[in-house]
Subunit: 195 residues, 2 copies
DNA sequence: CCACTTTTGGACTGCTTAGTCCAGAACAGC
DNA sequence: GCTGTTCTGGACTAAGCAGTCCAAAAGTGG
């Protein structure tokens, strides 16, 4: 049983608010004040609960990865076919390209771009997280092959890597300001190349 | 005839040094001191010759775009075939993925990722520059179609956009730490999808 | 060798930043 | 309602930042 004054904020909620800010502005361009305003907590609480700016950022990355990976895994399970799942993910980038968050690109890829190899821990976290997405694509490709939508002689690993690359490329384009229509055009080419 | 003390540094050379620093660290993470050290000039000279940090950055972007676009245009002209050119560009990412600069990704895409829509002028500069690369791919695709390496019923514009997206995706992967081998795997899939 | 123009180095300013610290507020258990 | 523990707000610190400014240096033209 805990004794003392109880916490006045929801940790998970604060984490998501922080994630959103980092997502939109990147790490360096986000000041502590920005974070505090979005999270609606005081400086002391932030340091008490999350450690500091960089620790908070790492937590955000992990939270983002877990949330996203879970969502996608669930989407794959519920999808009528492997190919439909892939298509939905890719078209999803186009649909989001005008909305608020769609423009933000992929937090993991943005981070890779911003940090490069500046911080080893961040770099390996990003690499491993991206691999998780690749694995998801791999599962989807295998399923599509079993369902007869993708030729069985194609190498599933290569295709998964290819799809992951394209997801990154599409998100980058969206962030650079490409229209949903432009993105949809590319998605069609990608889907066509899978047959 | 100019009168007064002559400039002691080469403007173009200084610009390239600055570009290199921005390229590796991004805009925010690059301090004026970093720039001064790399350019080997004094603060006054920088402000006198380039205006300031953000103006210098814009000049670097333009310089990068022009240099790169020229190089690629020349490479296309000298290439034995349109398809060979495309392949060379894409494999070039893999070859550079271990070298110093290869890891830096594409300055334009990095910038798009870092700035988003924070600065309208930068954003439009990036968008227009990326279009130039797309046009180059378009020319290459058309040539490849004329040479019989790419089916003529394919839409050249769509393919060019697709290739530009993939170039961005590959550079992003390289920056995220992917091995040259991994990148080469993806390039093979891309090239295969053009047939 | 003098007058004039332009560059250069470095001190300086004002601002923003991440992070620390402490006095007081808020609650649980007894 | 008292005690002990934990949270909270805001003042504070020290460092780093972009950008300014001026005196001295380094040339050119006559």
């Amino acid at each position: 049983m805990t004794v003392g004054r109880p916490i006045e904020f929801d940790t998970q909620q604060a984490l998501e608010a922080a994630t959103s800010v980092f997502w939109q502005h990147g790490y360096d361009a986000t000041s502590l004040d920005d974070l505090l305003a979005a999270m609606d907590i005081s400086k002391s609480s932030l340091y008490q609960a999350f450690g500091g700016k960089s620790e908070l950022f790492q937590s955000c990355l992990e939270n983002y990865r877990n949330t996203f990976a879970d969502k996608m895994r669930a989407a794959l399970d519920e999808s009528p076919s492997g190919l439909a799942f892939i298509e939905a993910i890719l078209f999803g980038v186009a649909d989001g390209a005008n909305a608020h968050m769609g423009r933000a690109g992929c937090l993991l890829i943005n981070t890779a771009s911003e940090f490069g190899q500046r911080d080893a821990r961040i770099a390996s976290l990003v690499t491993k997280s991206l691999e998780r997405f690749e694995d998801l694509f791999y599962a989807a490709v295998c399923r599509a092959q079993a369902e007869g939508d993708i030729p069985k002689n194609a190498d599933a690993r290569s295709l998964a890597l290819f799809l992951a690359t394209n997801l990154g490329g599409l998100k980058g384009m969206a962030r650079a300001g490409a229209s949903p229509e432009k993105i949809r055009t590319v998605v069609k080419v990608i889907m066509n190349s899978l047959k």
